[in-house]
């Protein structure tokens, strides 16, 4: 565990994070992400496939292959630079202070152990309690994630559960050690609407109860709206817009965010063409030296291709990386109460 943080310390702080993969092809996956998140905050991370959402989460958990990955910039959790963690401190950090829910339960749940054993094992490792006490925690967690007949389900193997139930078991596993930060990578994409909303409401409730921070990755804007206090939109390894959920959804400023919202099908009319953003994202073989979205942007002008776009602060925590906003916001907007 890291030392007790000073009051006011952000839960997560990225300072100009850059992640590059070396190998046959070099990939500049993260290109200068700066973001901070307060304890207990729920952040929705949106963005196109390949924009770096999963890499951001994996960086936080130190899950990237160390030999092939170059990481630059700061990543602090509760004030501790996580790049300095190793050995036992790293093991305690992973799954203890920070844990992750994956898109595919198969990645997190081991098919050869019962769900109860897996949760108890994690609790014993992190909290150093007896097997019996750990089993009690496991039972309590299954109850909290509202799995019916939890005593019986403790003895189930993962394949004996339905998809929705497995997803809940995985959330139980991730929350068993009361992490301060939960990373959820598209945890509901494979679920139908009725189960999805159950899981989202459950996460919202547990988040309030445990007071943990959550980073929730999704490409479904409706889902992001249901769970997030704040939304960050990624494009080509950078955060192009961030703000409260209301600001980003009702008053999107970055052309990519606008495109993403327009491509969403809520209220789309049958037979009419959908507004897909034309083109495809950049290859990321070189670090960006200009706005990465400019080649696909209907509003692009020469300035967009000359330098990296500045980050414009619109007030109230609403920030956007786009030259168009530079001219429009001469005076800072009043900060919302």
């Amino acid at each position: 565990m890291t030392d007790a943080p000073k009051p006011g310390t952000p839960l997560v702080e990225f300072d100009n994070l850059k992640v590059r993969f070396r190998g046959e092809r070099t990939v500049h996956a993260i290109n200068g992400v700066s973001l901070s998140m307060q304890p207990g905050e729920m952040l929705g991370l949106l963005g196109e496939s390949g924009s770096g959402k999963s890499v951001t989460l994996k960086t936080l958990l130190r899950l990237l292959p160390p030999k092939r990955t170059d990481i630059e910039g700061g990543v602090r959790v509760n004030g501790t630079d996580i790049k300095t963690l190793s050995g036992r401190r790293l093991a305690a950090y992973r799954g203890g202070e920070v844990s992750m829910v994956f898109q595919e339960p198969a990645l997190a749940l081991d098919p050869v152990y019962t769900v109860g054993d897996q949760i108890a094992e994690t609790v014993m490792r992190h909290k150093g309690v007896s097997r019996r006490a750990a089993m009690d925690v496991a039972l309590d967690m299954l109850t909290r994630v509202r799995i019916p007949s939890p005593e019986r389900r403790l003895k189930n193997y993962p394949h004996e559960m339905s998809g929705g139930m497995r997803q809940r078991a995985m959330i139980a596993l991730a929350l068993a050690c009361r992490p301060q930060l939960l990373l959820a990578d598209e945890p509901t994409t494979a679920l139908d609407a009725t189960v999805q909303i159950q899981i989202l409401l459950l996460l919202r409730e547990l988040q309030k109860e445990f007071g943990m921070g959550v980073i929730f990755v999704t490409h479904d804007i409706g889902v992001a709206v249901e769970v997030s206090d704040r939304i960050a939109v990624m494009y080509a390894g950078n955060i192009v817009e961030t703000g409260t959920t209301r600001d980003v959804i009702k008053d999107p400023r970055h052309p990519y965010t606008k495109g993403l919202l327009a491509a969403n099908l809520h209220g789309a009319v049958k037979g009419e063409r959908l507004d897909a953003i034309p083109g495809s994202p950049p290859a990321l073989e070189e670090p960006p030296s200009a706005c990465s979205f400019a080649p696909r942007c209907a509003f692009a002008r020469p300035a967009c291709l000359e330098a990296l776009p500045p980050e414009i602060d619109l007030g109230g925590g609403h920030k956007v990386r786009c030259v168009l906003e530079q001219d429009q916001v001469k005076t800072p907007q009043p900060v919302e109460a």
């Binding site: 196109e48 998809g163 009725t194 409401l201 409706g222 709206v225 249901e226 099908l265 789309a268």
Partner: protein, 349 residues
Amino acid sequence: MSKTDPRSAKADRGGPNQPLIIAKDLKKHFPIRSGLFNRQSATVRAVDGVSFDVKKGETLGIVGESGCGKSTTARLLVGLIDLDEGHIVFDGDGLGEDISLKELRRGVQMVFQDSYASLNPRLTIVDSVAFGPKILGLGNPTGRARDLLGRVGLDPNRFADRYPHELSGGQRQRVNIARALAMEPRLVILDEAVSALDKSVEAQVLNLLNDLRREFGLTYVFISHDLNVVRYISDRVLVMYLGEVVEIGPADVIYENQAHPYTASLFAAMPSMDPDNLTEEPPLAGDPPNPIDPPSGCRFHTRCKFAEGVCSAKTPKLSVIGGDDTHQAACHMQEPGSGHSAAIKEAAE
């Protein structure tokens, strides 16, 4: 792509009013084996008496809870698994009577949920797409494949020679769509085919599907958990619950007016998109019942807030809703004389 290729099963044999495919009382039960002697201990009633038809040129959406039998229904339609009971009629020809399984497969292609498992890892994607047309002896398979890759948004100059592991999930799914289209099918079944795509690529692929439908007169069966997508793409929607059809009708009608309580819960579960108006309560609690031993009568009665005695005693039949015979639901509240307090007392004479 030529429309007059003599070898393609494209010939419109039944005429415009003949549905392209008719499914009659389809049943598929899977045996479950367990115990010391691996004896069959139970059966999963995955698809349990499903009937519907798909008209030429229309798109039929299929929705329903995870595990309700959507993919199994799709596999039956393509002939990937054998029917236990029921009939499939393709453009007027009965499967096993007038046409063989091979002929059916020629006319029906499927794009699967799992993009990775369905591509050969040793073939470049252009070869994967060209493979089917080559076997069928269609002209210029590679040119055709490159053209289709371009059409699904994968620039052939950049992507044609890549292997599946060099693509993202969304890109692989587009290869699968191109591969299905390369066979010049008349019916394409898309099983969660856009679920792995991000919204912008999804919009591109949906536009593409609409273009291809117009251009080649395709008919689609579209399975998805995303109700916004289903509404956009489908002319009619079929709702399944635990192996049965509970409601079917025109998409716009069902989206405005759900007749079956399960359908109503499903639609109420859609995320709101409005930060000032978040969902507070899940519209449907609990997990679906076990398909090995489904509830008696109406299978939804264990989770339905309108359930009465009749619901567990009698199986509801599909009945016409509001005088519009294109809209049907299987609910005792909609069936005159069923005995449910919300139903009309007697069938109007």
